[in-house]
């Protein structure tokens, strides 16, 4: 009987996530505020259904009472996040909150299935991180001074990365983590955010060539330190994010072209200079040739995705555990194996919806600094998702980064939560701005929506009449 339930459950899960994903995009086209509200609520219902069905299956297979408590705690957590955000910040973007919760839910499901212990640990970090995340929008709102510390961010970022490069423990062939007082941290995860602040601060000051040159040099130091620490995934994320931010700030295609040309040259140089880069590329070319060696992980990931097909094997019917460090870099393969290719495509689309929202928010902010921050954080997120999913499918060489909100890894989780919270803060800031303008003009403007996809409705363009 259990098998029948698992078998049916996988179709139900797929149907639910398809409905959820469809609503993410339909929301962009709904103009009526009430209808949108209703849609977001419905998304929450769908999310809880997915959560329930998945945990029912997990319970049937694991038969541990603890699981029921864990499930309850998760439901409470999700409810709390939704309720708190809605009430503390009624102006927050509900689509982003929903997507965040949805991704966290998928993470809960897969982590619990892979390792209950890991999942509980992750849950604790999640709760702590969420508390921090709840405060952040306030900070953003109140502390305008944050915009003027560009040099401080640069020193902090480079300092932290430098410290890692010098003192870090080597894990999986890369220097990543730093242990302070018993807590192991991956500073590069946090430096990402600091880095975005630094670049935004510098570029908001001026986009004169001299200033751009100084900023580029400092950004290059970040990237170089990461390359030396062999954290190639992060190096790539920093690099692309910087280029995109530079382009948005200067609107000058020449910078973008020069940047990508330099990047291409650097990649080729890295291939010949660093053996670990060569290894990654060789594995990407043919993971089966070095099956016993480095190719094993990618090969197993491909086997997992292949075994999953469109509909997945069903929870506990696959063997994602065969992939080494599946819970971090290859979470996507695990999801695809057990929940199916369609589920994974929806997951990609949900991530895309987050990204679109980030960029959308960025476009509508008036102050340069905030606009660049929002855009930079969006890029960080987008590039990271691309690298980890592309790597797991062998579409691009594996770079070893996590899938935000779904993979284990406290630092990654915390930094993603913080990014999401900052974006929320900026979003609220924008709504505040609007309100002020509205009050000045004593004119209540009701038709201005959070997520008008594709519109370039800058707030200051709204008053031609």
């Amino acid at each position: 009987m259990t098998r029948l339930i698992i078998d049916i459950s996988r179709y139900i899960l797929i149907a639910l996530i398809v409905v959820y994903t469809a609503q993410c995009y339909l929301a962009f086209f709904r103009k009526d505020e009430d209808a949108r509200e209703y849609m977001f609520l419905r998304q929450n219902v769908v999310m809880f259904c997915i959560h329930f069905v998945a945990f029912m299956v997990l319970y049937l297979k694991m038969e541990q009472a603890m699981l029921l408590y864990f499930y309850g705690a998760q439901v409470l957590y999700l409810l709390a996040v939704l309720v708190f955000f809605r009430n503390l910040y009624p102006r927050a973007s509900k689509l982003i909150i929903n997507n965040m919760c949805m991704l966290i839910t998928v993470g809960f499901i897969m982590l619990t299935r892979l390792s209950y212990d890991q999942a509980t640990k992750q849950f604790q970090i999640l709760v702590a991180g969420t508390v921090i995340a709840l405060i952040i929008p306030v900070i953003i709102r109140k502390m305008h001074i944050l915009t003027r510390w560009a040099w401080f961010y640069a020193v902090l970022g480079i300092g932290l990365l430098g410290a890692v490069a010098v003192m870090a423990r080597v894990t999986y062939g890369a220097k990543l983590s730093l242990t302070v007082g018993g807590i192991t941290l991956q500073p590069s995860e946090f430096v990402k955010i600091i880095f975005v602040f630094f670049v935004a601060g510098m570029l908001a000051k001026s986009v004169e060539f001299k200033n751009v040159a100084v900023t580029t040099a400092l950004a290059a130091i970040h990237v170089l330190i990461l390359v030396i620490s062999t954290d190639l995934g992060s190096a790539l994320i920093f690099f692309i994010t910087y280029l995109m931010m530079l382009y948005v700030a200067t609107k000058d295609l020449r910078y973008l072209a020069a940047g990508f040309a330099a990047g291409a040259v650097a990649c080729v140089a890295a291939y010949f200079l660093f053996s670990h880069v060569r290894v990654r590329v060789d594995i990407w070319r043919d993971p089966f040739r070095e099956y016993e060696g480095g190719g094993y992980q990618v090969a197993q990931s491909l086997f997992a995705i292949g075994a999953g097909g469109w509909f997945g094997t069903g929870l506990f019917q696959g063997s994602p555990g065969a992939i080494p460090i599946v819970d971090q870099d290859f979470m996507f393969a695990a999801v695809t194996e057990e929940l199916g290719g369609i589920f994974s495509i929806c997951l990609i689309l949900i991530c895309m919806s987050c990204f679109i929202m980030f960029v959308n928010i960025a476009m509508k902010l008036t102050e340069d600094f905030y606009r660049y921050v929002a855009f930079g954080l969006g890029c960080l997120y987008g590039v990271q998702v691309f690298l980890t999913i592309g790597g797991a499918m062998k579409m691009i060489p594996m770079t070893g980064v996590t899938l935000p909100l779904i993979s284990t890894g406290g630092s990654s989780l915390l930094s993603t939560l913080i990014s999401f919270a900052i974006i929320q803060g900026l979003y609220i800031l924008r709504e505040d701005e609007e309100e002020e303008l509205n009050e000045e003009e004593d004119y209540y403007y009701d038709e201005y929506y959070e997520g008008e996809y594709g519109s370039d409705n800058y707030p200051n363009q709204r008053y031609p009449y």
């Binding site: 009987m1 086997f303 995705i305 292949g306 097909g309 019917q317 495509i345 592309g390």
Partner: protein
């Protein structure tokens, strides 16, 4: 960017999934054995070659009713996997039975039956080949010329897949027999005089108008530089033209021919026939090799022309050469799985014949067919003549030396029913002496049993 990810995942599922799922290192299928009873492997005539028996307590045993006869093709599923058991592992552990069936079985928590794999091999012909090869080490491959279907494939020494677990230690420690090795696909033998078919083709291409004026006086041997080549058994053929040189397999004449050939062009002919290329068969196989560079010595050229020297070929390769002649110059892509079926007989997937390449013109094929027919009528393969069926072919007596040991492999490649060929065949009996004395009678026994129904209708 995100859409490219989604797009790639879709592409992966459509294009690459099968390849990944049947990768030899993929162990994902093992877990499916808990829900699916491994499907059967059937012969084209419906005999069960491998099947899973389930006793009352639910214990499963894999049975191979034909014991050693299909050993290498069907392979085994314990102690690792080989043959069809390995290549079709994913299909055998997939179930395409109706959803209703599957749901019912899931509801009852009983296993469903995996799909069956139906081979192109015919159990009667396979048995005939197995018996005909007798106690010789070697291989027999039978191909249907106009489809590329492999109808029989035997390799000896062999093993019994039913007792493979208990025999395992002996099998892997015995390096002199290498019984697990499928000689039909993985054997690399000097092709000997069977290779003269390709030498002749290369000669025809360089002398399209005057090949009939070829002449050579055979006095039993030919020497150039330090290399001396004799005709098999010291025979003296006297004056030969192209036809009689081929029919009587005169080494001197072909050595002379070989020295006049453009080596590059010769190599191209052979590479068209899949030398130096992986055979597109989907089972572990060895490449057949041909290497003759510009400026090779006369010795090398002479040796290569008579199928000695550095040239090696697998039995399937040589069967395909014969099949191409039989099929008027079109080489068909060889295949051994005819279709996949559900356990209750609904077809899941069917494999169709496809042309691999046109390796020669119809006229060239007709000329070679004529030479091969005359070889049976009056030459080295005369033992095949005078039957109710007609045949064509070429013998080979390939000399080999491995360490201390030296001897002669006995080859025959050819086909039956000259006007509308039924079976293309390659026979090799290791250390069997001349082609005429051993391989030809083996081929005859196989053709006889096919046309005279020795193994039943």
């Amino acid at each position: 960017m995100f859409l490219s990810l989604a797009g790639y995942l879709i592409y992966f599922n459509i294009e690459k999934r099968d390849e990944i799922n049947s990768n030899a290192n993929n162990t994902k299928q093992e877990s499916k054995q808990e829900q699916i009873i491994r499907g059967s492997i059937l012969s084209a005539d419906g005999e069960i070659l491998a099947g899973t028996n389930v006793d009352e307590e639910g214990n499963e045993t894999r049975l191979y009713p034909f014991d050693n006869v299909f050993a290498h093709v069907v392979g085994y599923a314990t102690n690792g996997k080989a043959g069809v058991e390995a290549e079709a592992n994913f299909d055998l552990l997939s179930c395409h039975a109706s959803i209703l069936d599957q749901v019912r079985n899931h509801g009852l928590d009983t296993k469903v039956r995996g799909d069956n794999v139906v081979l192109t091999l015919d159990s009667k012909l396979q048995r005939a080949c197995y018996d005909a090869l007798g106690s010789y080490s070697g291989a027999v491959v039978v191909v249907e010329p106009d489809t590329g279907k492999i109808l029989a494939m035997v390799s000896k020494p062999d093993f019994n897949p039913n007792t493979i677990s208990s025999d395992w230690e002996t099998l892997i420690s015995d390096s002199s027999n290498s019984s697990l090795f499928n000689r039909a696909l993985q054997g690399q033998y000097p092709p000997g005089s069977t290779f003269k078919i390709l030498t002749t083709l290369a000669y025809l291409r360089e002398h399209p108008d005057d090949y009939q004026s070829f002449g050579y006086d055979c006095n039993g041997s030919i020497s150039r530089d330090t290399v001396r080549i004799t005709c098999y058994g010291g025979e003296v053929h006297g004056h030969v033209d192209l036809e009689s040189a081929f029919v009587h397999s005169c080494n001197g004449a072909f050595a002379e021919m070989g020295m006049g050939l453009d080596n590059e062009a010769f190599k191209n002919v052979c590479e068209d026939f899949m030398f130096n290329t992986e055979l597109p068969i989907g089972l572990p196989s060895s490449k057949s090799l041909f290497s003759l560079e510009k400026g090779a010595s006369y010795g090398e050229e002479m040796m290569t022309a008579i199928g000695q020297g550095n040239t090696v070929a697998s039995p399937l390769e040589m069967a395909l050469v014969a099949a191409s002649v039989a099929n008027g110059g079109n080489m068909m892509k060889p295949y051994y799985i005819d279709r996949l079926e559900t356990y209750d007989g609904d077809v899941v997937k069917e494999y169709r014949p496809s042309v691999y390449r046109e390796v020669m013109s119809t006229e060239e094929a007709a000329l070679l067919a004529d030479l091969m027919t005359k070889t049976v009528e009056q030459g080295t393969a005369k033992k095949l003549s005078g039957q109710s069926y007609t045949a064509a072919g070429k013998t080979g007596s390939a000399e080999y030396e491995t360490g201390e040991e030296q001897g002669t492999h006995s080859w025959f490649i050819g086909y039956s029913n000259v006007n509308d060929p039924d079976l293309a065949i390659a026979v090799i009996a290791e250390n069997g002496g001349s082609g005429s004395s051993t391989a030809v009678p083996i081929a005859k026994q196989i053709f006889d049993s096919y046309y005279y129904n020795y193994y039943g209708e």
